[in-house]
């Protein structure tokens, strides 16, 4: 039988399977233990059976445990949180465990990451199987000592007889290196369970502790193997050659233009997909730049120029693909607006914004022995495996994906595309191929969050009460690409594959609990001229539409509060408290609580915006915004300084009150929330995809600026709201925290700029020159 170690040696890549330093120091017993448990085998790669306890947990002879979960970690500490949850249920010390994530051949298919659901959804089966392992181990100890289970105690992986503590046995002694052979039940993987129940929240000891993330030390000392570091003997390097103009057709390739490049191996092309392969990386980069390709431009422009985008969107005829286009109407908004004492109208605009990962998309594919192994940071490793197998016409059992750490992934990144491309090239060459995109390729061609226009109307009665609200959005999200789809990944599009019909984005309306008697909400999808083979391809970018829709809705609520001469928080609290009706997870009560918590943490004094005029060079102001995402509720306050002479905005302080139910790791949560705030701040101040009517022109960190060190706030307060106001709050389950806090930030910043200057910015991003022009126009 092949052990895991032998197998990895045969594949020539000993270290790659161990994704953190804690795992890299493989104990001598580990290989032997895995031989009998979750040992990976060469192809065929059989799916680990989620109904087998051995697929989730291996106890080694030395009492250590290895957990296997089908999630990935984009840098938000999900791995540490899973270990905490599973340690608690198994009753084992955190230090005695390790976690393997996202390897399709040895971890069960939990879909990888996405939707902020790792802890909220996938944490449950992980907890239940760990509880089941504990139950089985207690039964084994009971048989060993001839003592009923209820007479036994367990702590840190050691079972003790309560009446005679000298009688004790460790998990390692009970089962170390052997299989549980326990079949679990459950209709699907999320429902996986044994007979054991998870512990009540009051008994959790590891959950709730701010344990340090295990992946940070090897990231800080340089010892971690990332997906970019994957290499095997015989590996060659590839670079793509993209069409210079969107929608261009390949006419011919002059291969002689690169034959003089040292190490040149091959030009690979199919349809409009072109790549070069060389022995060394720098050679592939040179060959890709040097290759002469004849392209034919499309006869009509693929898209309007970025300066004309919003007019184009407003004038376009909406497509019939309006998943959310049917107006959601409450009461009679038209009548209510006609009867209102004051009607406010405003338009808002958000451009396309990209993922633009700090490390361009990459993957390495090894086709040795007729099987295919793909090393990637793709957050959806399982989808990549299935997609590549289908794309290449290979049996699934011959393909596996090994997830490794990589640059941040907040949705549908180009990691999907690079995975397919590396796999295709490896199969074409019959050699292991490492592919990486270049900076301009990543920034121009990665999937974009869609652009929006909004038209808002609101009506106030004579007392300043909000009686009617109309929200009409248009979103350039016609052909929304999913994850690892064989007809929408970039290489498939360039080869001429198309889905039978485009999938429209599902841009949901903004999320809040405001009580407004009359309202209308509708979203229409509009299409750009070129739907496929375009760098303006739209896919999920963190949340995926909340930052845009919340910018419009929470800016507009602020405009209404100002028109009513009301304090922005009091105005919102009035709308929140106008009903006592709540859902069974207290979302209304928790919304009210986070709004108050944010105000308290900031030291908010009630007054209407804007702030009394000042003639100072630096104007200061504060802005508020609130929303929820699924069951996670957040309220944020931004304090800004606006330089009246330069237009520069500095967000000096950010406060975020955050309630995501049960907290697994408070510091991990804070770090994830900070990341959300700062990412959204970058989108508020800088990020915008720019293009002429042939190609994207924002292609590097000069033409596509991002938040920098000088922009960091001087103070960030993350208030983890807990236990208030409902006595039953501590029993709430954990909800997702990966995305909620990125939603209100842009609006909070816009509202703060208005408070400081009296100028309302309705167009994202608030770059210096745009702010300065707005200040001058308003003589602010």
């Amino acid at each position: 039988m092949t052990t895991r170690r032998d197998f990895l040696k045969q594949s020539g890549f000993l270290v790659v399977g161990f994704s953190a330093a804690s795992i890299a120091s493989e104990t001598p017993t580990l290989g032997a233990a895995l031989q009998t448990a979750a040992a990976p085998q060469p192809a065929p790669f059989v799916d680990p059976d989620f109904r087998q306890l051995d697929s989730w947990i291996v106890i080694h002879e030395d009492g250590r445990a290895t957990f296997y979960v089908g999630k990935t970690d984009g840098g938000q500490g999900v791995g540490t949180a899973f270990r905490q949850m599973m340690c608690d249920e198994l009753d084992i010390a955190f230090e005695k465990t390790e976690l393997i994530m996202g390897r399709t051949d040895i971890t069960v298919d939990q879909g990888g990451s996405g939707g902020s659901d790792a802890i909220e959804t996938d944490g449950w089966p992980a907890r239940r199987v760990a509880a089941e392992a504990r139950r089985i181990l207690l039964e084994m100890a009971s048989a060993r000592f001839g003592v009923p289970v209820d007479q036994l105690a367990v702590s840190d992986g050691v079972v003790t007889v309560k009446s005679d503590p000298s009688k004790k046995i460790s998990y390692g002694e009970l089962i170390g290196g052997r299989r549980f052979n326990v079949t679990l039940t459950g209709a699907n993987i999320n429902a996986t369970t044994g007979a054991a129940k998870v512990k009540p929240v009051q008994e959790l000891k590891v959950v709730g502790k701010p344990l340090q993330r295990y992946d940070i030390p090897p990231k800080v000392d340089g010892s971690l193997k990332w997906a970019v570091d994957a290499r095997v003997p015989g590996m060659v390097h590839a670079r793509n050659v993209r069409p210079p103009v969107a929608g261009a057709t390949l006419v011919s390739i002059d291969e002689s233009s690169v034959r003089d490049v040292p190490g040149f191996i091959k030009v690979v092309s199919k349809g409009n997909y072109v790549a070069v392969v060389c022995e060394r990386e720098e050679q592939a980069i040179r060959a890709a730049r040097q290759l002469k390709v004849n392209w034919r431009k499309p006869s009509t422009p693929p898209f309007p120029k970025s300066e004309e985008l919003f007019d184009y969107m407003r004038n376009a005829t909406p497509t019939s693909l309006t998943k959310t286009g049917v107006p959601n109407v409450t009461g009679n908004p038209d009548e209510a607006l006609a009867a209102a004492a004051k009607v406010i109208e405003a338009d808002y605009e958000v451009p396309f914004q990209g993922h633009t990962a700090i490390g361009p998309a990459h993957a390495m594919a090894d086709p040795s022995n007729g099987q295919l192994t793909i090393y990637t940071n793709d957050m959806k490793a399982y989808g990549l495996r299935n997609g590549v197998a289908q794309f290449l016409g290979m049996p699934r059992e011959q393909v596996r994906v090994i997830w490794m750490e990589g640059p941040q992934v907040y949705g549908r990144t180009a990691a999907d595309d690079a995975g397919f491309e590396a796999a295709f090239l490896a199969k074409e060459l019959g050699r292991p191929v490492r592919l990486q995109w270049m900076r301009n390729e990543e920034t121009a061609w990665d999937a974009k969050g869609p652009a929006f226009t909004f038209k808002m109307r609101g009506g106030l009665d004579a007392q300043g009460n909000l009686t009617a609200l109309e929200y009409r959005a248009r979103v350039a999200d016609y052909a929304h690409i999913g994850y690892n789809e064989t007809d929408t990944v970039l290489i498939a599009q360039l080869m001429g594959r198309r889905p039978s019909s485009p999938a429209p984005g599902g841009a949901a309306p903004p999320s809040e609990m405001y009580v407004i008697p009359h309202r209308r909400r509708e979203t229409h999808v509009v299409a750009l001229p070129l739907a496929w083979e375009t760098p303006l391809r739209v896919g999920n970018l963190r949340d995926p539409n909340g930052p845009q829709t919340t910018f419009a809705s929470e800016s507009f609520i602020d405009e209404l509060a100002a028109a009513a001469n009301a304090d922005p928080i009091e105005f919102r609290l009035k709308l929140l408290t106008a009903s006592t009706q709540d859902d069974n997870q207290f979302k209304r009560a928790r919304s009210i609580a986070v709004v108050k918590a944010a105000a308290q943490a900031y030291g908010w004094d009630a007054r209407p915006s804007r702030k009394p005029r000042s003639n100072a060079r630096i104007l200061t102001g504060r802005g508020f915004a609130y929303c929820f995402r699924s069951q996670t509720v957040v309220a944020e306050i931004a304090e800004v300084e606006v330089n009246r002479e330069t237009g520069r905005v500095w967000v000096k302080r950010l406060v975020c009150a955050h309630d995501c139910g049960l907290v697994i790791n408070p510091d991990g949560l804070r770090n994830a929330v900070e990341g959300n705030l700062m990412h959204a701040l970058s989108r508020a101040l800088y990020e915008e995809v720019q293009f002429d009517n042939e190609k994207v022109t924002s292609v590097d960190w000069v033409s596509h600026p991002t938040l920098r060190h000088v922009d960091a706030p001087a103070q960030i307060d993350v208030v983890v709201v807990n236990g208030d106001p409902n006595p039953s709050r501590p029993d709430l389950p954990p909800y997702g925290a990966g995305e909620a806090a990125c939603k209100p930030t842009i609006a909070a910043v816009a509202n703060a700029i208005y408070d400081a200057t009296g100028v309302r910015l309705r167009r994202v991003p608030f770059r210096q020159e745009r702010v300065l022009a707005a200040l001058k126009a308003a003589r602010a």
Partner: protein, 165 residues
Amino acid sequence: MSNVTLKVNGKTHTVDIDPSTPLLYILRNDLGLQGPRFGCGLGQCGACTVIVDGAAVRSCVAATSSIKGEITTLEGLSKDGALHPVQQAWIDLQVPQCGFCQNGQILTAKILLDQKPNPTDAEIRESMNGVLCRCMTYYRIQAAIKRAAQKVASAEGARSQEAAV
């Protein structure tokens, strides 16, 4: 191709390469180092940073033949098995999210503290401004630099007290 000799993290290596190749690819693909990473290939982001004779060098745009001094990469920062105070501060404050850019952040911070052991907030922001992070961990990075500066200062204070005794 020609033989080029590089001194990296205290070891000498001779590699047979095109000397105009950017140093990054030699460090990663010939010497197997993984601290410096490709981020932009344009010298704009800092993910590829290495230290050469005490100064930050963007290895993605530096021709290997132009490197005359001793190179230190992230892997070479610890001494006698002990992490550099900057690295330790990064762990203490749990700085990274994905961590991909942190090589450049840590090495640039180390150089800053070598030159200015007690930097002001403004000096930290300005010195670090050219190193980009797309998880935007700047807030924790800046706090960690201050923490490292304090730790170094208090360790030196203790040493000088010992010397005085």
